[in-house]
Amino acid sequence: MKESVTELIYDGCMAMNAQDWQAFLALCEPEGFRYRITNYSPEILRTQCWMDRDFKGLKSIIELLPRHNTDHSPLTRHATVYKVRQDAQTGEVRAHTQLAIYRTELDGSNSHFDSGKTALWAIGRYEDRIRVGDGGARLLERNVVLDTRQIDIGSHLPL
């Protein structure tokens, strides 16, 4: 079980790093899927949500990317699965994965001076709810909990 869960999480990172969004969506369970990006703000003393989408909403964001003006600097996710726990009754798995995201400049700033430079862009964790079945593991829910609260110009991409 643990092996298929870690494989799912790492496959997801590799798909997103390659900007193969369809491959990432294929790892998610369309029915009831929820994708969120959240963080805790010590400025307003509450947890806040910066993105909340179901499967259809996430798919729509991805499919409309070509119509948007986006910073095309690639984001590279470096993940380490810390903990995997299965609920004995439901069989569902909860996984905690630490995450560091690096950005390699392409055209977001001055491409003549800056392109090719890599910098740490954000840190946080994935809190995943996963179902493991005969067909393999599928993401039921992902909460990307960011520790980083200043993320420059933001992004159009799922993390």
């Binding site: 990006i37 703000s41 010590p42 400025e43 307003i44 003393l45 509450r46 806040q48 949500c49 910066w50 993105m51 909340d52 989408r53 259809k56 909403g57 798919k59 729509s60 964001i61 499919e63 409309l64 119509r67 948007h68 003006n69 986006t70 910073d71 977001g108 700033s109 001055n110 609260r149 200043q150 993320i151 420059d152 110009i153 933001g154 992004s155 159009h156 991409l157």
Partner: protein, 408 residues
């Protein structure tokens, strides 16, 4: 036809109110003067009252010119602002972004602000209430009443925002606003608002460039969201742009077809007096924008750090009485467009960052145009012209020729 250097640097054949010299964005000496003549004299919003809802709650903030501030709600419920600098040895007094003075510090009493360095304590009205070994050190030469905190003029208004002015001799906030908020009073002031979103980023751009993304709507072409939900709608280009005294400017009510963007929903929620799917926007000189899009209010505040660096803070607000389900809906509506993963914010920030790269000192950039005239409707650039008219009045410089004062 492309142009030679001589042609490229020739002044546009337009009135000097309709173009500007890019040195208004890049010259350090102009930036320093802006801080002194504009930011140190005008009312600036620093946070929202819901960020410090209870007596003894505090919020730290700052305004241009490296002014660290602490905003405190007193036992009397009055909100006061102080320079967050200890008068003894210049240390920062309150370090956390937000919290309550009721929580004791390692060295200091609850209800007071304690400087951790030497234990000087100040109450929520700014009075110094404790100097360790006061008599032993200062005898009769200095006492607590000599060393209170520097208090900053503060008012709470326009949807519960906390406004400060560093000029002790300034007029009231209402004189400065000059009626600009009148068309949003029902929406903003009928009932208490509550913050649900806060984000900030230091962006490599001049503060005016970011503010200008709210001052002109011709850049609708940048945003697929605006093209899909706004520009294709009947009457969109008839939307009026209104100019107020002191450099403020507003775009009047329009209706947006939010569900025209695939995957988005109609806006079910609204604010008091705001029609379904409505949108109003007000720009306050020199660096604040209120944008009320149907279900959520976004307030954007810029704090200039240098001529090419700006702290941008964005707050999202709903109604205090929202149910959890309503609040969740407002948050989702807000983040679709304006969150750091929203569709428009990223595009606007990308644009101003690239402007800053292209216009850096010595790049060869010379004049920018703000000359569109469309009967003061949405793609007219009157919002930019009104901004620089006020800028010129306060700086005593023409934006089209900024290195000379108007007296020369």
């Amino acid at each position: 036809m492309s142009r030679t250097l001589e042609q490229w640097t020739r002044r546009p054949t337009l009135p000097d109110t309709h173009y500007l010299d890019t040195r208004v964005y890049t010259e350090p000496s102009i930036f320093e003067e802006e801080i002194e003549r504009i930011f140190h004299r005008l009312w600036l919003p620093v946070c929202h009252e819901s960020e410090l809802p209870k007596p003894y709650d505090f919020r730290t903030s700052g305004v241009a010119g490296n002014k660290p501030l602490v905003i405190v709600r007193g036992a009397d419920d009055k909100i006061r602002t102080f320079l967050n600098v200890c008068p003894h040895r210049g240390n920062t007094i309150v370090r956390s972004p937000a919290g309550s003075l009721l929580k004791a510090e390692p060295s200091g009493n609850p209800r007071n602000m304690t400087c951790m360095f030497h234990g000087w304590q100040f109450d929520a009205t700014g009075k110094c209430v404790e100097i360790p070994r006061e008599k032993a050190g200062y005898q009769e030469r200095l006492c607590k009443s000599d060393v209170g905190l520097r208090e900053i003029r503060t008012e709470v208004a326009h949807g519960g925002f906390i406004w400060v002015n560093l000029d002790d001799h300034c007029g009231p906030l209402s004189d400065f606003i000059a009626g600009a908020f009148d068309f949003m009073t029902t929406e903003l002031d009928s009932e208490p608002l509550d913050i649900f979103h806060y984000q900030k980023s230091v962006i490599r751009t001049n503060y005016k460039l970011w503010h200008e993304t709210s001052r002109e709507f011709y850049h609708d072409y940048l945003h697929y969201h605006n093209r899909a939900t706004g520009m294709t709608q009947k009457g969109y280009f008839d939307r009026k742009y209104s100019v107020f005294p002191n450099g403020h400017a507003a775009t009047g009510l329009t209706t947006i077809t939010y569900d025209a963007y695939e995957g988005n929903k109609d806006r079910g929620l609204t604010f008091p007096g705001m029609p379904k799917n409505g949108w109003k926007q007000l720009n306050i000189f020199p660096s604040c924008t209120y944008s009320l899009r149907a279900s959520c209010l976004r307030v954007s505040v810029m704090t200039p750090i240098s001529e090419s660096e700006t702290l941008i803070e964005i707050r999202g607000l709903g109604l205090k009485r929202d149910t959890p389900a309503e609040r969740e809906e407002r948050i989702a509506d807000h983040d679709t467009i304006w969150g750091p993963f929203g569709r428009n914010l990223h595009e606007d920030l990308l644009a101003v960052k690239n402007q800053t790269v292209a216009m850096r000192r010595g790049s060869g950039s010379k004049y920018l145009l703000m000359a569109r005239e469309e009967n003061e409707t949405i793609h007219d650039e009157v919002g930019l012209r009104s901004y620089f008219a006020e800028w010129s009045r306060r700086m005593n410089r023409r934006a089209a020729d900024p290195m000379r004062s108007m007296d020369e």
